[in-house]
Amino acid sequence: MTVVMAIVVGGLFAAGSYLLLRRSIVRLIIGLALLSHATNLFVFTMGWLRQGGVPLIGLSPSDRMVDPVPQALILTAIVIGFATQAFVLVLSYRAHEETGTDDLDQMKAMDLS
């Protein structure tokens, strides 16, 4: 199971990085989303993946329990990622309104001043 997760996390990081290198802002945003998913899955995997390892005393033997802390951590990270992605979407909409383009290379008002 951990090997599968390693491949998924690696694939998501690769795809996310590829999309972040595009010039189109929409792809940039999808890349950011993939990157945060990859991070969350990575942290999730750090708490062991076992079937039936409910971390409650009495429900599973203590050496079979999964660690619940990383799950709590990624819950926080998912909420933060959700908020920032919502913000970036609005930002990209405003950028399109303001500049009429989706191309990052056209956005250099500050570099030319």
């Binding site: 972040l20 802002i25 940039l28 950011l32 990157l35 945060s36 990859a38 991070t39 990575f42 942290v43 995997t45 750090m46 660690d67 802390v69 990383p70 951590l73 926080t76 990270a77 933060i80 990622g81 908020a83 920032t84 913000f87 970036v88 930002l91 990209s92 405003r94 950028a95 303001e98 500049t99 990052l104 956005m107 250099k108 008002a109 500050m110 570099d111 001043s113």
Partner: protein, 494 residues
């Protein structure tokens, strides 16, 4: 146990919520923000310092859960210094911003965001938990995104896209590093992590985490070669906001780098010192050379921010107690001086209605007081004796000489010279040169603007006059960073 350590985090948060509720009344918003941030300053000076002087480390277990299980807030002298600096900047820039934004369309949105920004900064300085460090970084960043686009101009939105994306990528890398350390050690408490990571079997994971942290915090503090986003975004923000960003925000990344390397990853820190030194030298040089080419005053100052980040990084790169102490004094100097010079540049911007150096001029004749302020702070940033920049750079260069890093000394001296040249070019263009025919002031220089900017400039002067005692505190803080035993004992209650 120090139950009040949560004040600098909760006070701005509560005030931000109150400001949202009071969004109809600007006067109430201003009052609430001022009370909350002045309260934090009073707390830092009146309560936190006496505790730190008496005991060295102040710890608070949230919810009274004992250390490795619950979340702790922990302050040592370094945290105390950074918190006090941030509290000073918070109050001064708030007064400046009240006058700057006075009855602007954006003013009601400024206060809640500004307060949340300071909640995040204070949390990052005080937390003793690596995941909380991530959370407080995110709080700070989300608030800074909002502040950056305040005004909705084209340059701001373009800058914000770059800033948001690069910040999020660096946060993802930081979280991966933190997750990796958790996977190895099974704890998030930084003191507990420090003990558990000391063994040899953790070393390969710590090495990966150290590099992830270096890149993540390197992006946030604009270290070479990860600084390109800074001059593309900071100058677009409104001047009081750019002052907080340039003066304080990049230093939070540096603080995190100092903290994680000295506490969590001492072995990796020693192994990567040459990387840190090379990055420091290139950051200084890149910032100074970038500033040389600028015609826009705010962009020029943004490049100067990068160059100073390089100086602070030398302290970590050399790793001796003298170097860390110089680095910590550099924090004191640069947070005050950099914020002050942005605020003073803002006054010049108000007076001439532009930030284009070619179109500015005549300020020496019209505003001699402003010219004197600029000259004092600029000379301090450049490092002319007997000002605070000289003390900071002298300490840093003496430490480099002790460590026989002669090339580094050469770069540092050359960069100081370039900084002096760049800041004197601003002096010649904006102040000495005759006024251009058509000068249209953007607004009056209100009392709030003048008082806050000159107040901070006097504090820069005070940092030079008080250099002896401040440097002693920096020495003690550096000793704490190198000998983490008392910190671990205090946090883990042994």
């Amino acid at each position: 146990m120090t139950g009040h350590l949560v004040v600098p985090i909760v006070a701005p948060l509560a005030a931000a919520i109150l400001c949202l509720a009071l969004h109809r009344s600007l006067r109430a918003q201003r009052l609430v923000s001022l009370v909350a941030l002045t309260g934090v300053l009073a707390y830092a000076v009146g309560w936190l310092w006496p505790t730190l002087r008496a005991r060295g480390v102040a710890v608070m277990c949230l919810g009274n859960w004992p250390a490795p299980y619950g979340i702790v807030l922990a302050a040592d002298l370094f945290s105390g210094i950074m918190l006090s600096l941030s509290a000073v900047v918070g109050v001064v820039v708030l007064i400046y911003a009240m006058a700057w934004l006075s009855s602007c369309r954006e003013e009601p949105f400024f206060y809640p965001l500004y307060l949340v920004l300071f909640m995040g900064i204070h949390g990052a300085f005080l937390t003793g938990d690596i995941f909380n460090l991530y959370v407080f970084f995110e709080v700070m960043l989300v608030a800074s995104f909002g502040l950056m686009v305040l005004g909705g101009e084209r340059a701001q939105i373009e800058g914000a896209i770059k800033y948001v994306v690069i910040s999020q990528v660096s946060s993802a890398l930081f979280l991966v590093g933190a997750g990796l350390l958790y996977g190895v050690a099974g704890t998030l408490n930084m003191a507990d992590l420090a003990e558990k990571l000391a063994g040899p079997q953790a070393a390969p994971y710590s090495a990966v985490a150290a590099r992830l942290f270096l890149v993540a915090f390197g992006v946030k503090s604009a270290v070479f070669p990860l600084f390109f986003w800074l001059p593309a975004s900071y100058p677009a923000a409104k001047t009081p906001i750019a002052a907080v960003f340039g003066g304080l925000l990049t230093k939070v990344g540096l603080y995190a780098l100092y903290r994680t390397y000295t506490l969590l990853l001492p072995a990796q820190w020693q192994a990567e010192r040459s990387v840190l030194l090379a990055a420091a030298a290139l950051t200084m040089a890149a910032g100074a050379l970038g500033a040389l080419a600028q015609r826009n005053l705010k962009r020029l100052l943004a490049f100067e921010v990068i160059s100073q980040v390089g100086f602070v990084l030398i302290g970590l790169g050399l790793g001796t107690q003298a170097a860390l102490a110089a680095g910590i004094y550099f924090f004191i100097h640069i947070v005050l001086a950099k914020t002050a010079i942005f605020l003073i540049a803002g006054l010049a911007e108000r007076e001439t209605g532009t930030v284009d150096l070619a179109a500015m001029g005549g300020l020496l004749r019209h505003r001699p007081g402003l010219a004197a302020l600029y000259l004092g702070v600029a000379l301090s940033v450049a490092g002319v004796p007997p000002l605070s920049g000289f003390v900071a750079k002298y300490g840093m260069i003496a430490a480099s000489l002790q460590a026989r890093q002669y090339a580094l000394v050469g770069v540092a001296l050359a960069v100081s010279l370039l900084t002096l040249y760049v800041l004197m070019r601003v002096w010649a263009e904006a102040f000495m040169k005759g006024a251009p025919a058509a000068v249209t002031p953007a607004g009056r220089l209100g009392l709030g603007l003048v008082v806050s900017a000159s107040g901070l400039a006097f504090l820069v002067g005070a940092a030079a006059i008080m250099a002896g005692p401040l440097y002693d505190i920096a020495q003690q803080a550096a000793r704490q960073l190198l000998d983490v035993g008392p910190y671990l004992a205090a946090v883990l209650a042994k």
